[in-house]
């Protein structure tokens, strides 16, 4: 008995502080946001008093109605989801060979290669985005090369910067490590004997990949996809800096509501929808990841 209560105490000592942290900095702000979404915007921005002049509690669903009835918002959501999906796919295509290479390289190089993958984190996020402004800028070698090539086939020059292309390139660049790391962690554990067995049983390299390596790596793929898709869905700095006028994503919209339009209730509604979308996706990823592989460890 004593040991079981001791055990419970230990659990609270260890688990308590992080739990407290999550409650204070995650749960409570979320609840504040939920409450704000049902309130009326203030005359000069922010929120109107929760109790109006007549003394009634002023809670309504006006902002939700607005979100549902004005299709422009849903279309921004779809567009954001599309960008996030493309980002996830390109990250996967780039990260899979990279993670495989690292996992297959000699042990003494692996740490170095992993270090190179996370090296960009050592410099500031915004600085890295501005660096892309230079790389994609009209006077940079890349734009000159692309437009030179286009001129050869008679196509007009295209701007690389301030476009959906720039946004996508930078989204992929920023999120790539979040795909590489879980994939590497998964691939590194793969048992060479399984591939030998598959080969022995008649599978060529292509079949070995699609029948053995890839299915076994799915938990890593799902984890990476969730780690890329969800943040990519809500990002605002990249479209702000690198995007054209059409590249307003849901993150920009939310930012606008709070900082420019100063419609806090509507901004809260958009945030809640985004949070729910992210939660649902994370749930699906976890569920598929667990049952899709047949491995219940």
């Amino acid at each position: 008995m004593a040991s079981s209560s001791q055990c419970r105490l230990a659990r609270w000592v260890v688990g308590g502080p992080p739990l407290l942290y999550l409650v204070v900095f995650f749960l409570i702000p979320t609840l504040i946001m939920v409450l704000a979404s049902f309130r009326t915007p203030g005359e000069f921005g922010g929120l109107a008093p929760i109790v109006d002049e007549t003394g009634r509690l002023d809670l309504n669903v006006d902002s939700y109605v607005r979100f549902v009835t004005e299709p422009v918002f849903a279309s921004v959501f779809v567009k954001s989801a599309w960008y996030a999906l493309l980002t996830t796919l390109f990250c996967l295509l780039l990260a899979y060979p990279l993670a495989t290479l690292i996992a297959k390289s000699a042990k003494r190089y692996r740490d170095l290669l992993l270090l190179l993958v996370i090296l960009p984190f050592w410099s500031n996020f915004l600085i890295r985005i501005y660096a892309w402004m230079i790389i994609l800028g009209p006077n940079a070698a890349l734009a000159k090369f692309v437009n030179g090539a286009l001129a050869l086939v008679g196509a007009g020059p295209v701007p690389l910067l301030f476009s959906g292309f720039a946004v996508l390139v930078c989204l992929v660049y920023v999120h790539l490590p979040f795909m590489v790391l879980p994939l590497y962690a998964n691939l590194e554990k793969h048992d060479q004997a399984l591939l030998d067995a598959a080969q022995d049983l008649g599978a060529n390299a292509w079949q070995r990949f699609w029948r053995i390596t890839f299915p076994l790596s799915l938990p890593g793929v799902y984890a990476g996809a969730a780690l890329v898709f969800i943040p990519a869905l809500g990002i605002f700095a990249i479209p702000d800096i690198l995007g054209g006028p059409d590249d307003t994503l849901i993150g920009n919209l939310i930012k606008q509501q709070f900082l420019e339009t100063r419609d806090w209730p509507f901004g809260s509604v958009l945030s809640i929808v985004l949070t729910i979308a992210a939660l649902v996706l994370a749930g699906i990823a976890a569920w598929v990841g667990r049952r899709g592989t047949g491995v219940r460890a």
Partner: protein, 361 residues
């Protein structure tokens, strides 16, 4: 023509020679065992047959065709890996179906083939289980069923029983013998367990340091070891080495320094040798409290120094006045008696010339 012909194969890792000029031929339908201590190159040889490794010199022929340019996936041999290497994301059925799918066996035929293979290893009804839902012995059967389902020319088994407990190992050994007889596929079986090798095989190649020391039937390997290494590795054996004092017809007398002259029979064809070793199995030595009747070919006195009681038999280690240690074994078959001698007892040991085996140097 042999099914598999290994011709003067050598494999080096750096300046270490793992397989040293090995030649052997394996016949169709044979249960062939590679037996040897850890590190002698058994797995290396098996991997070269399967195609995961290539010889530095020599050739491997299957049905007369050189396999050098055939990758593992196109060799008609299958391996049962020591770790079984079952695909964890596939059911038993999925695992067994895998080689059929790779061989493009039509789907309509697969079901029956899978059932047949699972029946061969007595695993019917386990189709929908995942590998982690099986016991070690069951996994091993799935690995065998998976390897057999395409009817390969040859099955390579790398210590398939090593991970199992003793009782299960015995049961599965018997099943393996029966299975091999039933399917008629040549088995190349790797083990470092000599009793397993003796019990299972038609022929055994005893390996040591990358070389084949002896290739023979189990009874020949046991009864007529050609080298001291084989004699010692296969079961316990007393080895008495020394110069040959004299040879009269088919009896050789070896002068053993700490024991005395030991007489042993040799086959007529064996050439004279200046030195040699007499190998004699512990169970061939008569050990008694009283002197034997008549004048036996070999007769030594000693005292029991150690004994190892093993239930059915007891091994007595006897030291002679000269300082030699002789192991003798006695079955505890007489009812009402647990063992015959105690430590310190004086004993008489004797054996005829025919009990020993002469290994010329």
């Amino acid at each position: 023509m042999a099914l598999l012909d290994i011709q003067r194969v050598t494999r080096r890792f750096g300046d270490f020679t793992a397989i040293d000029d090995v030649s052997l031929a394996i016949e169709a339908g044979e249960f062939f065992t590679l037996l040897g201590p850890s590190g002698c190159g058994k797995t290396t040889l098996l991997r070269m047959i399967a195609g995961f490794d290539l010889p530095d010199a020599g050739r491997i022929l299957l049905n007369g065709k050189d396999l050098a340019d055939t990758p593992p996936e196109r060799r008609p041999v299958r391996t049962v890996f020591q770790s079984y290497a079952l695909f964890p994301h596939m059911t038993v059925e999925g695992n067994v179906a895998f080689p059929l799918e790779m061989a493009r066996v039509p789907a309509s035929e697969r079901k029956a083939r899978i059932e047949g293979a699972l029946e061969d290893v007595r695993l019917q009804g386990f189709n929908k289980r995942y590998p982690h839902e099986l016991s070690g012995g069951q996994r091993q059967r799935v690995a065998i069923a998976r390897a057999l389902v395409t009817h390969p020319a040859m099955l390579l088994l790398d210590e398939p029983l090593a991970a199992l407990d003793a009782k299960l190992r015995e049961d599965l050994s018997i099943e393996l013998i029966n299975l091999q007889k039933e399917v008629g596929i040549a088995f190349v079986y790797v083990t470092h367990d000599q009793s397993e090798a003796l019990a299972l095989s038609h022929r055994i190649a005893v390996m040591n340091r990358g070389r084949v020391e002896q290739l023979d039937e189990p009874s020949k390997i046991y009864g007529f070891p050609r080298t001291a290494f084989v004699a010692d590795f296969i079961g316990h054996c007393n080895l008495f080495g020394g110069p040959v004092a004299n040879r009269a017809n088919d009896v050789v007398t070896v002068d053993v320094a700490d024991l005395g002259p030991v007489r042993v029979g040799v086959a007529a064809g064996i050439a004279n040798a200046a030195k040699g070793t007499v190998a004699i199995r512990p169970e061939k030595i008569r050990i008694a409290a009283s002197a034997p009747e008549g004048t036996p070919d070999n007769h030594f006195r000693g005292t029991v120094e150690d004994l190892l009681y093993m239930g059915d038999v007891t091994v007595y280690r006897v030291s002679t006045p000269g300082g030699a240690k002789v192991e003798a074994l006695l079955a505890n078959s007489q009812s009402g008696r647990a063992k015959f001698f105690e430590v310190g007892d004086a004993v008489e040991m004797s054996w005829p010339v025919g009990a020993g085996h002469f290994i010329p140097e």
